[in-house]
């Protein structure tokens, strides 16, 4: 039997969390160090995954399949393919960033903090590797709990409100998805919750739209798509820095991944039928998110609304059903994770120094903290899609793919690219350029070595993906071809 690496990836953070619970409460250094070791080992495991990943197949890899509740066809079935693989890597990598990013921010109830973070990592990875709908749902729903605690305990002023809103919003979608999963189980006649088995069956056309709607609602809330995005700014602004990094970097991707993995393959006809609706909502999200971001006074809400805009591109890329756009969408998931993660980290660094996130409180900072300003500008360039950096490749592929579906899509969503440049650069100008107007800003220390290391790691990937995007794009091509073939053939069979 080959080494069960995916199970190891799922269990390691949970074991690490258990050990953390037994560490002495007052030794914060030990707890922080231990949590870092845990996510580092986890990342190393995922690098092993990378090294042995076979790029030229659409088959699931590293598959493990055990009976779990055999009476009703539920199994522990995990695996990765080109669609999920990079998201697994993104998760382990961002955890490696998020844990040390909390070292100076979190000094209260340190133990619980890292326990919740480690549990969260397992839950998120579970969503990406689960190949059984029941198993998927378990991880999907469970990922809510640690995040809600992270926001609610270590967040800012309105943290409890934000945590409850986060949970209730997400659950209102996912509970209907649960019913849809059960209906699907009986409707296909397959009497299994196994995704790969269910994909071989044809969901009856009469119920496909309903089931699609239930799944899509759950995913659209998570992404979040306009007009279901209202939980996001609250959650993001109130969450601690590392929470925001993971929320934007990984949790939002759960929704986009859900569309990709479940909606497209299980309900191919309904997906095509509803695609125009989702695309229009996505484009509204792109423009609306960008416009709202532009008028934010708070840097963190600016980044939060920019996420709404960027996630719109990803949904657009998924629902135009082209190889290019889908590659762009998956790449953009990784890109958004890196660049928005980096932006939240940067905003957090500034907040730790000044205890403010208001753009108006700053001004002229690039003279005081030049290294910080350099990284901020670079990451902003990445986020707005400057050629040579990662964001460009993803957005370009999506726009290209959308053009072949309908040029109007591209024309409208391209507005979002322009707006991104406007709100990001305008914010940079106000916060970083000009004279230092506020006396409190004169003595700000620049990045320390820990922060520098984290940002260097993020920026390195941003540049590498920008220069050599094929490193990321190639391994996912076969799976995307397979996905499109699957949804296309199923679409014809009807």
């Amino acid at each position: 039997m080959p080494f069960p690496i995916l199970t190891a990836l799922l269990i390691l953070p949970l074991l690490a969390a258990l050990v953390t619970a037994l560490l002495p409460k007052n030794n914060a250094r030990l707890i922080k160090g231990w949590a870092f070791v845990a996510v580092a080992v986890e990342f190393a495991l995922s690098v092993y995954l990378l090294a042995n990943f076979v790029p030229n197949t659409s088959e699931m890899q590293y598959v493990e399949h055990y009976l779990w509740i055999p009476q009703i066809g539920i199994s522990y079935h995990v695996g990765v393919d080109g669609l999920s693989f990079w998201l697994v890597m993104l998760t382990t990598f961002l955890m490696l960033i998020a844990i040390p990013a909390s070292f100076s921010e979190i000094n209260d109830r340190v133990k619980e903090y890292f326990i919740f973070f480690l549990i969260l990592e397992a839950a998120m990875l579970g969503v990406f590797v689960a190949l059984d709908l029941f198993l998927f749902y378990v991880f999907w729903e469970f990922s809510l709990i640690p995040m809600a605690f992270l926001i609610g305990i270590w967040g800012h002023e309105k943290r409890i409100y934000a945590a409850i809103k986060f949970v209730l919003f997400t659950m209102s979608g996912s509970l209907l998805m649960l019913v849809a999963i059960i209906v699907l189980y009986y409707a296909t006649g397959a009497r299994t919750f196994d995704l790969l088995e269910l994909q071989k069956t044809i969901t009856p056309a009469t119920i496909q739209p309903w089931l699609f709607a239930a799944f899509a609602l759950a995913f659209a809330i998570k992404v979040p798509m306009f007009p279901l995005h209202t939980w996001l700014p609250d959650a993001h602004v109130q969450a601690p820095t590392a929470g925001s990094i993971i929320l934007a970097g990984v949790l939002l991707k759960l929704g986009a991944y859900g569309f990709l993995r479940f909606c497209l393959t299980l309900f191919p006809d309904a997906s095509r039928q509803f695609a125009p609706v989702l695309i229009v909502l996505a484009i509204i999200g792109i423009i609306y998110g960008a416009m709202v971001a532009a008028v934010q006074k708070d840097l963190k809400s600016l980044v939060a609304y920019s996420s709404v805009s960027h996630m719109g591109f990803i949904i657009l890329g998924i629902f135009v059903f082209s190889q290019q756009a889908l590659s762009g969408a998956i790449l953009q998931m990784v890109n958004h994770g890196l660049s928005t993660g980096a932006l939240f980290l940067l905003v957090g660094i500034l907040y730790e120094r000044r205890h403010s996130r208001l753009i108006a409180d700053f001004g002229g900072l690039q003279k005081v903290i030049p290294i910080y300003a350099f990284f901020l500008l670079l990451v902003m360039f990445s986020s707005m899609g400057l050629p040579g950096l990662n964001g460009f490749v993803g957005e370009f592929l999506i726009l290209l793919g959308a053009w072949s579906a309908n040029p109007v899509y591209t024309i409208f969503s391209a507005v979002g690219v322009i707006l991104a440049a406007i709100y990001l650069l305008w914010a940079y100008q106000r916060a970083m350029q000009g004279p230092v107007t506020n006396a409190k800003n004169k003595q700000l220390p620049d990045l320390n070595s820990r922060e520098l290391a984290l940002l260097l790691a993020l920026v390195a990937l941003i540049v590498v993906i920008g220069v050599a995007p094929n490193l990321v794009l190639d391994p996912m091509q076969s799976s995307i071809t397979g996905l499109l073939g699957q949804s296309f053939i199923a679409g014809l069979v009807k």
Partner: protein, 483 residues
């Protein structure tokens, strides 16, 4: 006409008889043996429960019946019996230090508790309405006393009195229902009633009234709307371990007889009660959940939550299938472990004879008692239906049975109700973890008494285990009811 003696076969009754005998032994020992410290009696009680559980296992699969088919030890009954025995076991562990701290008498308490267990199991085994009534009274009377057991506490006395008066009232309804059914069919045996009805009976008013009154009696015990009014007051006033026991064991026992009466005696293909019960289920879960939203006392909140859960369980009866029965049995087990965990966690958060019961008192409790707070949190999350805990799997089974029987709308309303419930289950969690510590409570971590800690640990462990590995339990649960 020669008189035929009914065969005397006590074997199927052992799960009910052993706790009864143990109760008598404890009473005698308490009265006759010298010595002030009688806490060793708890060991005797636990032993009795263990032996009864052993015989429950032995009987499993035998489908034995006795006394002219008025008692049936089929797997459904035995499964319910096992849940009741396990719940009593955990409850005794929960109670030992609780009683000590309040200087309440151990012997009487244990005898009453075991008497109730005996009645509940008799009710689960009963295949005759008279035996159902026997069981009902046998467990109700000790519970009335147990509710009022904290004699120096006014709330407890009030709870006992209320429970007694309303309970007696509902018993009268129940008995009258039996009488009418006897009048309509000439028998009180469940299979006998079924046979008397025939294939396509003309339903006479006498029968209809009888079945309706029966529903009132069962509805009162399990807490269906509109017979739920007593629950919040009684749950709030009764000593917490008694509330814990009452909430899970009464529910399992009364629902078991409820299911059997309506599935064996009055099958839905003969007389359609499914729509009525579906409406009752929706009303029960909705009113339970909505009322729970505004509660600030945890025991009251858990009472309304208990009403809501009765609604979910009733969904399993609506579908009236083997899958529904299995789902219900699993639900009894899941509800037992998670509710015992919740009440246990609540007791463990207290200090001495002081309990944290309101949301404000729970503020910041996680920092003083991290393990008890974690236990309460896991139990509440399970009650809310979060995976990977028992409550999620239980709801999943119930709703999938509903979908399978064509009641998709019932499943949708069920999950929307779960959404509402998330809000109030998270309330205490938020208070414990996200609010500053409450005034008047020690900040330093303090030890939880050992038996209490064991009980809570076992309940939480089972809550997680039933959520992660439901397959083995489901095998037991799928074992059918003899009809």
């Amino acid at each position: 006409m020669p008189f035929t003696y009914p065969e005397i076969n006590l074997t199927p009754l052992l799960p009910a008889l052993i706790p009864a005998v143990t109760a008598m032994l404890i009473m005698l020992a308490d009265a006759l043996l010298p010595g002030k410290n009688k806490s060793w009696l708890a060991w005797l009680a636990l032993l009795g429960l263990g032996v009864a559980a052993f015989y429950t296992f032995v009987l499993f699969g035998s489908n034995a019946s006795a006394f002219n088919n008025s008692v049936v030890a089929d797997n459904f009954a035995l499964g319910v019996s096992f849940v009741i025995l396990a719940a009593a076991f955990v409850t005794i562990l929960l109670s030992i230090e609780f009683l000590d701290a309040r200087q309440l008498d151990m012997g009487e308490y244990l005898a009453l508790l075991l008497g109730a267990v005996s009645g509940m199991i008799l009710m689960a085994l009963a295949n005759d309405l008279i035996v159902v009534f026997l069981g009902l009274e046998l467990f109700s009377l000790p519970l009335y006393v147990l509710s009022a057991f904290w004699r120096t506490n006014n709330a407890s006395l009030e709870a006992g009195m209320k429970y007694f008066l309303l309970g007696a009232f509902s018993s009268a309804f129940f008995l009258y229902g039996i009488a009418l059914l006897y009048g309509a069919t000439g028998t009180t045996n469940l299979s006998g009633i079924r046979n008397a009805l025939g294939i396509s009976p003309t339903i006479n008013p006498l029968f209809l009234a009888g079945a309706g009154l029966l529903l009132v009696g069962f509805g009162f015990k399990v807490g269906l709307v509109p017979f739920q009014w007593w629950m919040p007051d009684v749950y709030e006033g009764a000593p917490t371990p008694v509330t814990a026991f009452m909430s899970v064991a009464t529910k399992a026992a009364a629902f078991a007889a409820f299911f059997r009466a309506f599935m064996v005696a009055i099958p839905s293909d003969v007389f359609d009660w499914q729509t009525t019960f579906a409406i009752l289920a929706v009303l029960t879960m909705t009113i339970g959940n909505v009322a729970a939203l505004t509660q600030t006392n945890l025991k009251r909140m858990l009472a309304y939550s208990s009403i809501a859960h009765a609604g979910y369980i009733l969904v399993a009866l609506v579908v009236a299938s083997e899958a529904g029965l299995a789902a219900a049995l699993f639900y009894f087990a899941a509800y037992a472990v998670m509710n015992l965990g919740a009440f246990g966690g609540l007791i463990a958060l207290g200090q001495g004879d002081k309990e944290r019961l309101t949301l404000d008192e729970l503020s910041g409790a996680a920092q003083q008692k991290p393990w008890a707070a974690a236990a309460l949190t896991i139990s509440l999350l399970s009650l809310a239906g979060f995976p990977p805990f028992a409550g999620f799997v239980a709801k999943f089974f119930v709703f999938s049975a509903a979908v399978n029987a064509g009641y998709v709308w019932l499943a949708v309303l069920g999950v929307l109700n779960s959404l509402v419930s998330v809000y109030y289950y998270l309330g205490p969690v938020i208070k414990m973890y996200m609010s500053p510590p409450a005034e008047g409570w020690a900040l330093a971590p303090s030890r939880t008494p050992v038996f209490l800690a064991t009980a809570v640990f076992v309940a939480v462990l089972l809550t997680i285990a039933l959520g992660l590995f439901p397959a083995e339990v489901l095998n037991f649960a799928q074992a059918a009811m003899v009809r």
